[in-house]
Symmetry: C2
Subunit: 255 residues, 2 copies
DNA sequence: CGCCAGGTTGATTTCGCTCAAGCAATGTGG
DNA sequence: CCACATTGCTTGAGCGAAATCAACCTGGCG
C-alpha cells in the first residue's frame, strides 16, 4: 500500500504516467524545469488501487506525496474507541500527504479508495529536493497549502456557527461545485459513493439527523435523491435556503 | 493601521527592531543570510499598537506580514448581521497575514490588539522575494503553514465531535500550554483578557452555556476563576476530565 | 446618582442525539 | 429457488444538551 512497499514490487511500478501536460496537473507541476521533471520521473511510482484499498494508514510515518491522477479517495480518522470519521474526500488533480510531509508529522488520518484510483507517488526526499532547487515550485506549494488552510478555517467557522441542516446544504454546495454533473435538462446530479454514516461524520452530525434533514429538503422540493445520488433541479434553491434560513443569522462573508 | 499608512507616517517608523537573535524569532528568520537580513531590515516597519487598535480589517487586501514581537492580537470575523466571532488569538513569536499573502486572497478576518503589541511589518513583495531567493526560508514557511493546517484540522475535528464542556477544557489546555504562568505553589494562572462572549465564540457556543460550564468546573474543583483569570491547581484534573468524560467516546488519536 | 457593559443565573424551548424498530436491497447457504 | 442473515437507510418516540429569553447582579464611569 506504500511507496516503500511498491518499490519492492516491480509489477506495480510504471513511471512517467502523469507528468505530461494535462490541465489539472498543470497547476502543480508547471513550474518544474526539464531537469526537475527528469528527477521526478526517475522516482515517481504510479499505481492503480481498487475500491476499498488503503493507500496509507493513520499513524504511519509519511513517506511521500500522492498525486491523484484519477479516482476518489477518502481521508478517514478513527478515534480510540474505533469510531470512524470521514474528514475529506480527495479527487483528480489533488494531492494528499503534503501536510505531514512538510510538518514532519505522522499521518493523522488514513487514506482509502472510494472509487478506483490511479496515483503517482513521489518520495518525500524528492519533493524536498525539488522545493529546495526550484523556488517557483515552492511558491506553488505555498499557495496550495495556504488555500487548504483557508478552506479548513472556513469549515471550522461553519461548524461552529451553523446548524445541521445548513451544514448539509453547504456540503451539498461544495459537492455540487466539485463533482456536480450538469445534465441537458438543467438539473445537476451529484453522486458521491459514501454511506450516510460517512456523510454524517463529515458534517459532525449523526446519520439519523442527516436522514431527517434530507427528508425535509426533499419534501421542500430542494433536492431529490436516489440512493447516493442527489439531484438538484435548481441550484438557486439551495443558496436561497441559506439566505432565508439563517439559524444563527449567518451568511458568508468577504470571500 | 496599515503598513502602507505607516510608511507615510515617519513618527511611527523604526527599523531593525526585531530581527536580532532572540529565541522565538529564531524559528522563523534563522535561515536568512546577511543579504536577506539586509533586505528585510531595509523594508521592515515596526510599530507599537495600543490595546483596541486595528492592525488590519476584514476584507482588506493583504499588504504584507506582521511578525508579533510582543503583545496579544485577536483575529476576528464578523458576519453580515454584525455578529462577531473571535477565531484566533496570536501572541509573541507568531506571524499573522501569511495565509492571504500566500493564497493571494483578501483578509477574511480582522486583527485587533488585545494587549499592547509591537509588530514588525514586512511588505508582501519582500516576503515573496525572500521566498524566491532563499529556499531554506521557503521550507521554514512551508513547515509553519503545514503545522497551522494541522491545528486547524484538529480543531475542526474537535468541533465536530466534542460537546461544549469538553471543548472548553480543550481550550483551557491550549491556553495553559501557551500562556500559563506557573506559580511557586504549583498552580497555574491563565489570564486571557477577552470577554466571555469572545471566549464562547471561539468554541462555537453561547456565552450562557460557557458560564454554566465554567460554574460546573468550579464546583467540581477543576478550576478557579477571578474575572478573566483562570486558576488551575492541578493540571492533571483537566486531562483526567477528558479521559473520564468522553461525551462521544473521544480521545485524541495518533498525535 | 443613573446608565451601561459584562457577567451570571433560572426557566423554557428547540434541536439534535439515542435507542429501537422496520424496511429494502443484497448476499449466502441449503 | 427460497429461508435467512447482513448491510444501509429511514422513521418514530423519548430524552438530554445547549440555545433562547429574561431577570438580575456587579463594577466602572459620565
Amino acid at each position: 500500500m506504500y511507496g516503500a512497499a511498491l518499490v519492492n514490487n516491480p509489477s506495480t511500478q510504471y513511471k512517467s504516467c502523469c507528468f505530461n501536460n494535462n490541465s489539472r496537473n498543470a497547476q502543480f507541476w508547471s513550474t518544474l524545469t526539464k531537469q526537475d521533471m527528469a528527477l521526478l520521473n526517475s522516482h515517481v511510482i504510479c499505481h492503480t488501487y481498487a475500491t476499498g484499498a488503503a493507500i496509507f494508514m493513520q499513524g504511519d510515518p509519511c513517506e511521500g506525496l500522492f498525486f491523484v491522477e484519477r479516482g476518489l479517495i477518502g481521508i478517514r480518522k478513527i478515534d480510540s474507541d474505533g469510531h470512524s470519521y470521514l474528514v475529506h474526500i480527495v479527487g483528480r488533480g489533488e494531492v494528499i500527504g503534503y501536510r505531514p510531509l512538510l510538518s514532519g508529522q505522522l499521518h493523522r488520518a488514513g487514506a482509502e479508495v472510494i472509487e478506483e484510483t490511479s496515483t503517482c507517488f513521489v518520495p518525500s526526499s524528492i519533493i524536498r529536493q525539488l522545493l529546495l532547487v526550484n523556488s517557483d515550485f515552492a511558491m506553488v506549494f505555498l499557495e496550495y497549502i495556504a488555500k487548504a488552510l483557508g478552506e479548513a478555517e472556513e469549515r471550522l467557522f461553519q461548524m461552529a456557527t451553523l446548524n445541521v441542516n445548513t451544514r448539509i446544504i453547504h456540503l451539498l454546495v461544495r459537492y455540487h461545485d466539485r463533482w456536480g454533473k450538469h445534465l441537458e435538462d438543467g438539473s445537476v446530479h451529484i453522486t458521491v459513493p459514501i454511506t450516510r454514516d460517512d456523510l454524517a461524520s463529515m458534517i459532525g452530525a449523526h446519520p439519523d439527523s442527516v436522514s431527517r434533514a434530507i427528508r425535509k429538503f426533499k419534501s421542500g422540493g430542494l433536492i431529490k435523491t436516489d440512493g447516493r445520488t442527489f439531484r438538484i433541479s435548481e441550484f438557486g434553491l439551495l443558496t436561497e435556503y441559506l439566505q432565508e434560513n439563517l439559524p444563527d443569522h449567518q451568511t458568508n462573508v468577504s470571500d
